[in-house]
């Protein structure tokens, strides 16, 4: 059952070859047996899942089902889920039970999806390896000594090991796409504003976007169609109609031109480069034209991001003070309000979060705002213009998703910059608000690597279609880590 894709299971459910309850039990069993070794879940919602599956079965029987009714999914623990612990991977919210559902959670629940639980993640989505979580690191199903990528490591590990059919996730600098690449699955970050951020704990408000981690582009299309759309409760939500992604993904292939910035291959290890180039050659065989493009300012992505994101985070995370909710330290004798804030936040946040709040506050401070934050926003404009210029000649911009395959747990934790450089290929799409996907395209030293494609704003349908056609001609996406087959 668990080697079947979401699309196939939707078919099985519709044809009543399997019931939603059987499916829920099968996956909950896998989560229990296999999930703890991966540390993929923070909270498992077994009772809820079974209750949702019962309702799903009723809907399926009465013909009132959608393509997602009865499908067992997981939600990254950054999405508020009513009545269920929502920790954001942090001690700060270890005691937080959300009073409401995020827009994404609502939409998927209404579609009849069954929630298996909340997945582990880097604390407040800050990380590229899922090692900063208060709940411990997540392990890569392909090799338990390695990271699955981050910040959506739990969601990625759950899908890669097939203990969840699909999962929601978020991406601010690459947190969907990079774990997708390192875990051998498909990860899509939509256009900024395409999916509601209501109830999605904010890290960097101008960069954050909700998306999906799935086995295939076809599955991503099914999930995205249910998740996307205007939400008046999110002031940055785009009021644009949602295309029928689930149908458009199957559209006939039309000639596409794929732009390749040659600078992306500078210094890239040869096996990784070879896997990406051979994926591009495969796309050429399918009818794509490759064209060299230049993204002149792309080297500014990492510095610009590490100014903008921490700056916005320092503002967003100022709400966590232990007053109205979240971690509150044991009361010290004679303590005043300032000391109280310092202890709540000092105890509640981990080291990486503290680093980002401090650098964020610094770059926004008087005397430094122009040199850093304003300068970063100008760099952002230059990077965005680079993409816009490229898209006059090409339909997509391609490259590797990540500079290396999965690395060892603990290998890069001492050097923040080395960790930050994991996002060098993915960050540009966040700065420019563009939709982007990572799809499995090969193996390097028996570890998965991903091909990254960026598209113009609101071009998710074309992106999914190209990825789907690639997946029809190849089988990288169908490989399952041996211990989880």
């Amino acid at each position: 059952m668990h080697t079947r894709t979401l699309a196939q299971l939707a078919d099985d459910l519709r044809a009543r070859r399997v019931s939603a309850t059987e499916l829920a039990k099968h996956y909950l069993d896998r989560v229990e047996r296999l999930g703890s070794k991966l540390n993929a879940f923070i909270t498992v919602t077994a009772e809820q899942a079974l209750a949702q599956a019962t309702v799903a079965d009723r809907r399926l029987a009465s013909g009132d089902a959608t393509g997602l009714t009865g499908i067992p999914i997981a939600h990254k623990d950054i999405f508020c889920t009513a009545g269920v612990k929502t920790s954001c991977g942090s001690r700060m919210l270890d005691n937080f039970v959300s009073p409401y559902d995020a827009g994404v959670v609502e939409r998927l629940a209404n579609a009849g999806a069954v929630m298996l639980g909340k997945t582990n993640m880097d604390e407040f989505a800050m990380g590229s390896s899922n090692e900063t979580s208060f709940y411990g690191p997540v392990r890569n199903p392909w090799d338990h000594a390695l990271v699955p990528g981050g910040s959506s490591g739990g969601s990625a590990a759950a899908v890669a090991s097939r203990i969840a059919v699909a999962a929601t996730a978020t991406d601010t600098g690459g947190s969907i796409r990079q774990p997708a690449a390192l875990s051998g699955i498909t990860g899509l970050k939509p256009t900024y504003g395409r999916v509601s951020r209501y109830g999605m704990i904010a890290f960097a408000s101008s960069l954050d976007q909700a998306g999906v981690l799935t086995q295939t582009a076809e599955d991503a299309a099914l999930l995205l169609e249910a998740m996307a759309g205007f939400d008046e409760r999110d002031s940055t939500s785009l009021d644009e109609p949602v295309p029928r992604y689930s149908q458009l993904v199957h559209d006939k292939w039309d000639g596409v031109t794929i732009g390749v910035p040659e600078s992306f291959f500078d210094g890239l290890e040869s096996e990784n480069a070879a896997a990406v180039r051979s994926a591009l050659a495969e796309l050429e065989k399918l009818g794509a034209k490759l064209k060299s493009v230049e993204l002149k300012y792309i080297h500014l992505s990492v510095p610009a991001y590490y100014v903008v994101a921490p700056a916005e985070a320092s503002s967003n995370l100022s709400r966590f003070d232990g007053v109205r909710f979240g971690h509150r330290a044991e009361r010290g004798a004679g303590e005043d309000l300032t000391a109280f804030y310092m202890r709540n936040r000092g105890e509640g946040f981990g080291a990486e979060v503290k680093r980002r709040i401090l650098t964020g506050t610094y770059v926004l401070s008087a005397g430094y705002f122009d040199a850093y934050y304003l300068q970063a926003q100008k760099a952002r404009k230059l990077i965005s213009d680079d993409f816009a210029r490229a898209f006059r000649d090409v339909d997509f911009v391609a490259g590797p998703t990540s500079p290396t395959p999965a690395f060892g747990i603990g290998q890069k934790t001492d050097d923040p910059i080395a960790m930050y450089l994991n996002d060098v290929y993915t960050i540009g799409a966040n700065l420019a608000g563009l939709p982007a996907i990572s799809i499995p395209c090969g193996f390097v030293r028996n570890l998965p690597v991903g091909l990254h494609l960026v598209a113009p704003p609101l071009a998710e349908a074309r992106l999914l279609k190209v990825a789907h056609h690639f997946q029809r001609a190849t089988d990288w996406h169908a490989r399952v880590p041996p211990s989880y087959a």
Binding site: N95, F96, V97, P99, T191, Y192, G193, S206, E232, S235, T236, L238, D239, Y297, L300, V302, P303, A304, Y306, V307, G322, V323, R324, F325, G326, R328, R331, E335, D336, L337, A339, F340, A351, K354, R355, L358, T359, Y362, V363, A371, Y372, L374, Q375, A376, Q377, K378, A379, R380, K381, L382, S384, P416, I417, Y420, N430, L431, A432, G433, L434, P457
Partner: protein, 69 residues
């Protein structure tokens, strides 16, 4: 912590080398303006639900240590 913070600042200092004369700063990635709505009350009072997560509440007020002075 200090050494790591210094290395991060050194990395973002690379931005200074870029000539951005005449470039408009970009706040919104798709350059859209803030959507506005009519100034009417749309939320209902659910303070009991929201305060169920509060560490210390008395008469609907959140209790915190005294602000000295």
């Amino acid at each position: 912590m200090t050494a790591k913070l210094s290395s991060i600042v050194a990395m973002v200092d690379e931005l200074k080398a870029c000539d951005t004369t005449g470039v408009t700063p970009m706040a919104h990635p798709l350059e859209r303006a803030q959507r506005l709505r009519a100034d009417v009350v749309t939320e209902s009072d659910r303070h009991e639900l929201y305060q169920s997560n509060a560490p210390l509440v008395e008469r609907d007020l959140y209790l915190v240590p005294k602000v000295i002075e």
